[in-house]
């Protein structure tokens, strides 16, 4: 558990933020009803701090804050469909209970995340809510335990408001692969929110909840963060326990988080990160209080990033990446230069090898990890006359197309006679990718790139073209192969939708250097002029 937030110091400085007219996207500012700072124009501010201050000062009750979010959720959910399960009644009860404890003066009532509504990707187990992984085969399944990340959030006082939609078991980049519903993008409801953590990204973007948890196997936090205009963090492999995360590809899976500000994202990471004896691959590296290391705008020097060396990955700004995305990233790069850093192009020669290696390794592990969904012990079981038929029917009916395709690919790659040509070779490529990142990160403190080749595309656009969809992951999968941390912060817009479509900047760092990424991302975010990433949806009431 991190030390309590240094709320007052940061709050005061945040309140003093200048608020000039930043009206290029004016939708949000026309909102009159919502008192939460999240909807104010200007640089992203911390909703967690604002909630904490309201509760500590008695200005607002947890019930009041919760009802603000829930009413927004109820209003926007019919078009967004971010949640597979909403626990609104439970959230209200928990908020009231928190208010009672605060009123009775209980000392520890206001934990670091007290009253903070959290959305949890539905491939993370929750004992008191259904957990489906977005799959028909787990329809109605209720785990017997909470995922470690979820438990830690709750212990810090967070209120889980529901389970967010995803591509089945995390396999997909649009959230169209959910067995239950398609989530839409808050910036344009004809577009995908990205995936697989599309529900979590959409929910934070639309302020249906304060922050959310996702998982990132090949970009599943970063790409939807980019599509939805929110901050998304993929921590170092092993930084956050995977216990309770339904495994897709165990050697790549990471629990990640979304927030509407870098500060909120950092706060969540401090809470969920750290060794867990239930996950032998979790690291025992000390967890810093990431948020307390973030410096507020008015305390910054004129060149806060002086001395920082940034490498912009050459291979990510070429063919296949939309022009608007490239110019946004270049704009972000020159902004980082203005802040004092040195930005240079860097080449990662193994970059293009990452995508095929990723799909072989991820599918191989998936084919194994998903064997447990056999209809025998839990989940949907289909009637059959013998054992093979039982397996066949349960899996044929319970699993979706994309999942079946990956199971088939992985089974093939691991088969006798093919193992060396596929799995083993992909592992060798993985080693190359790791090494080339290591080299680059010896020369640069941080590497930057786009998080996705384009902004959010139309629902249905790539649904019948899996290769095009896979190609969209090219900017993110290498980071998973190398196990590195990466932060996505909104950095610009491209044309599209009623109010433009957000573009995210990906910042990649050395293992366990999340603090560095968050520090730079926070400065970047706080100094970004004339851009506000509150979706137009929130004005439509």
């Amino acid at each position: 558990m991190p030390p309590p937030l240094q709320a007052h110091r940061l709050l005061i400085s945040h309140r003093r933020l200048p608020s000039p007219a930043r009206r290029r996207f004016t939708a949000a500012s026309s909102l009159q009803s919502a008192p939460a700072t999240t909807l104010a124009p200007g640089p992203a501010t911390s909703s967690i701090l604002s909630i904490r201050e309201s509760l500590l000062s008695g200005e607002r009750t947890a019930a009041d804050i919760t009802s603000e979010y829930l009413s927004r959720l109820r209003r926007t959910e019919p078009s967004l469909r971010s949640f597979i399960h909403v626990a609104d009644a439970a959230a209200e009860r928990e908020a009231e209970e928190l208010d009672r404890r605060i009123a009775s003066g209980e000392k520890d009532a206001v934990g670091p995340l007290a009253g903070v509504l959290v959305g949890v990707k539905d491939n993370l187990c929750t004992a008191n809510m259904p957990s489906t992984g977005g799959s028909r085969i787990l329809d109605g399944y209720r785990p017997a335990y909470d995922a470690t990340a979820v438990r830690r959030l709750q212990e810090a006082g967070a209120i889980v408001v529901g389970k967010t939609n995803l591509d089945e078991f995390g396999m997909g980049s649009t959230t169209e692969g959910s067995a239950f519903q398609v989530t839409t993008n808050p910036w344009d409801d004809s577009r995908v929110p990205g995936g697989s953590s599309g529900g979590s990204a959409s929910a934070v973007s639309a302020r249906q909840c304060v922050v959310s948890l996702g998982s990132d196997t090949g970009g599943s936090v970063r790409q939807p963060a980019s599509f939805c205009g929110v901050v998304g963090l993929k921590p170092t492999y092993g930084r956050v326990s995977r216990f309770g995360l339904m495994a897709y590809a165990s050697s790549l899976d990471v629990v990640g988080c979304f927030g509407s500000s870098v500060f909120d994202t950092a706060t969540i990471l401090s809470v969920v990160a750290g060794h867990d004896k239930m996950d032998s691959t979790s690291s025992s590296q000390v967890v810093p209080d990431y948020a307390s290391e973030l410096v507020s705008l008015d305390l910054l020097e004129s060149k806060p990033l002086a001395g920082l060396r940034i490498g912009i990955i050459q291979e990510t700004l070429g063919e296949g990446v939309a022009n608007g995305v490239i110019s946004s990233i270049k704009g972000a790069a020159s902004h980082l230069e203005q802040l004092g850093s040195v930005v240079e192009e860097v080449s990662l020669p193994s970059f293009s090898l990452g995508l095929p290696a990723y799909y072989i390794l991820a599918s191989s592990e998936a084919s194994s990890n998903l064997s447990r969904y056999d209809g025998i012990r839990y989940g949907r079981q289909f009637s059959a006359d013998d054992l093979n038929e039982l397996y066949g029917e349960s899996r044929a009916n319970g699993l979706g197309h994309e999942v079946k395709m990956r199971i088939l690919m992985g089974t093939y790659a691991l088969s006798a006679g093919y193992y060396d040509a596929y799995y083993k070779r992909a592992q060798q490529v993985r080693t190359l990718v790791k090494e080339s990142f290591k080299d680059a990160l010896e020369r640069y403190d941080i590497l930057i790139s786009p998080a996705a080749p384009s902004a959010a595309y139309k629902i249905g656009e790539k649904i019948n073209d899996p290769l095009a969809m896979y190609a969209g992951d090219i900017l993110t999968v290498n980071v998973n192969l190398a196990g590195l941390p990466a932060l996505v912060v909104p950095c610009g817009f491209v044309e599209g939708g009623p109010a433009g479509l957000p573009v995210g900047l990906q910042l990649i760092g050395s293992p366990f250097c999340e603090g560095n990424l968050l520090r730079v991302g926070h400065i970047f975010e706080q100094t970004l002029q004339n851009l506000s990433f509150v979706p137009p949806l929130l004005a439509e009431s």
């Binding site: 017997a144 216990f243 209809g375 025998i376 006359d385």
Partner: protein, 548 residues
Amino acid sequence: MALTLLRGMRTPVSSGSNPGLFFAVLRPRLSRFTARAESAQATEPKAAPPPRSIQLATKEAAEQKTQGFEAVIGIETHVQLSTVTKAFCSCPYSYGAQPNSTVCPTCMGHPGTLPVLNEKVVECAVKLGLALNCEISMTSKFDRKQYFYPDLPKGYQISQFDIPIAKKGHVDLDLPVEFGGGHRKFGITRVHMEEDAGKLLHSESSSYSQVDLNRAGVPLLEIVSEPDMRTGIEAAEYGAELQRIVRYLGVSNGNMQEGSLRCDVNVSIRPVGQSEFGTKVEIKNMNSFSAINRAIDYEISRQILLHKEGQADQIVQETRLWDESSQKTFTMRKKEGLADYRYFPEPDLPEVVLTSDYINEISKSMPELPEAKRRRYENMGLSMQDVLFLANDDNIGHFYDSTLEHGADAKLAANWIMGDIAAYLKDEKVSIDEIKLTPLELSELIASIKNGTISGKIGKEILAELIAKGGTVKGVIEEKDLVQIADPAAIEAMVDKVIADNPKQLEQYRAGKTKLQGFFAGQVMKASKGKANPVLLNKILGEKLNAN
């Protein structure tokens, strides 16, 4: 059956909030897998084998003409470790517990759960590896062995594939004296760590099956031998030696009836002199070493017969089950091509990296093993019969060594243990550490006989008393006034009285029927309540009878 109720196949999906209770049930036509060996072996223990000893059966086998053929036998042994918790979760395991009572989300393969290695498993593996003279891998890893079966919750078994924790070892043993004895050394290919599967319980109507996952995730060591054995008795003794070793090491109870030690045997035959192997047949479902011996010898004869009848092509790669009631092996399943288990490295577990300090520590803590003990006893001058009896049971070995530590004569102590004490253990069906006699008192008893305080005959009486009731030799002697009468005058008086009381016998004796000295000795001994020193008694009696 008092099973925890399992989920019916057609009942609606129930919420799995209590992970211990709900299991799917498989419906009809399960015949294709009802005969699976693990469950058959573990859930349907056959009646005790007919009272034929290993030795007897082997003698017959040895007499059997192998008719120019030689058998090649290799054994895969699974040893269930007696760790407090399972291999990858913190569930306990106890044999015979209520079905699905020792399970958790992890060993039930629930979504999101991860294995966490129980360090004791590594310790046991290193111990056994060292005991089997193996090379220990300083770095080994776990792999997933993948197949679908209802008793395998994750759809894969966590095992070790290309880098086992120990390899290239051997085991030494001595065959029973009754079979001509002889020392044997059999190669050990590898020892690896893995987890056990659960059990299927088939309904009596066989219209459905139930899954008991208590055993799922229990740690196993698999020991693979080289194909070095040639007869049933060699294979049985190999298994028995492994059982002794795991018991000596304390890593497993080695109990075959409970399935804590399971042997799968591969048997093939080939003409003597041929170097390539014949087609091998796997035999499972043997619940005792005697059964292993008989099953192998049966299988060898079956294969030889097929060869002799020109039907060698009917020997096919298959798994056969030993049937105790008919004393035959039966086809369980033919192997259609090699199964592809799609092994790949287990990504949820880090590599197992050992240090030489760790191995040295374990090495230092190793007990004396059966082979070392046998060689030590042999060097003490004991016969191989004695050596095998004393060394092959850990408890008896301890008792014997402890008796020697108290100063007892090695041969005399061996005789007492193998004689009266062994008879008692057999009659009462108890183990030597359950009797009330202590090694100290056995050594006292031996000393008391040696120094003439009591006679051997009295010694036997005292022993019986000590075994059953405990106490000390001195205490029993005093309490029952059993000190030997070694005073010549006292003995002479008793002799005189007996001679006087039996004039008729005296007359016969003096007429040449000298065998009657025994009668007189018996009478005197009886008069002394067994306490007369037999040497003195005979000496004085002889003098008196022959005096004229």
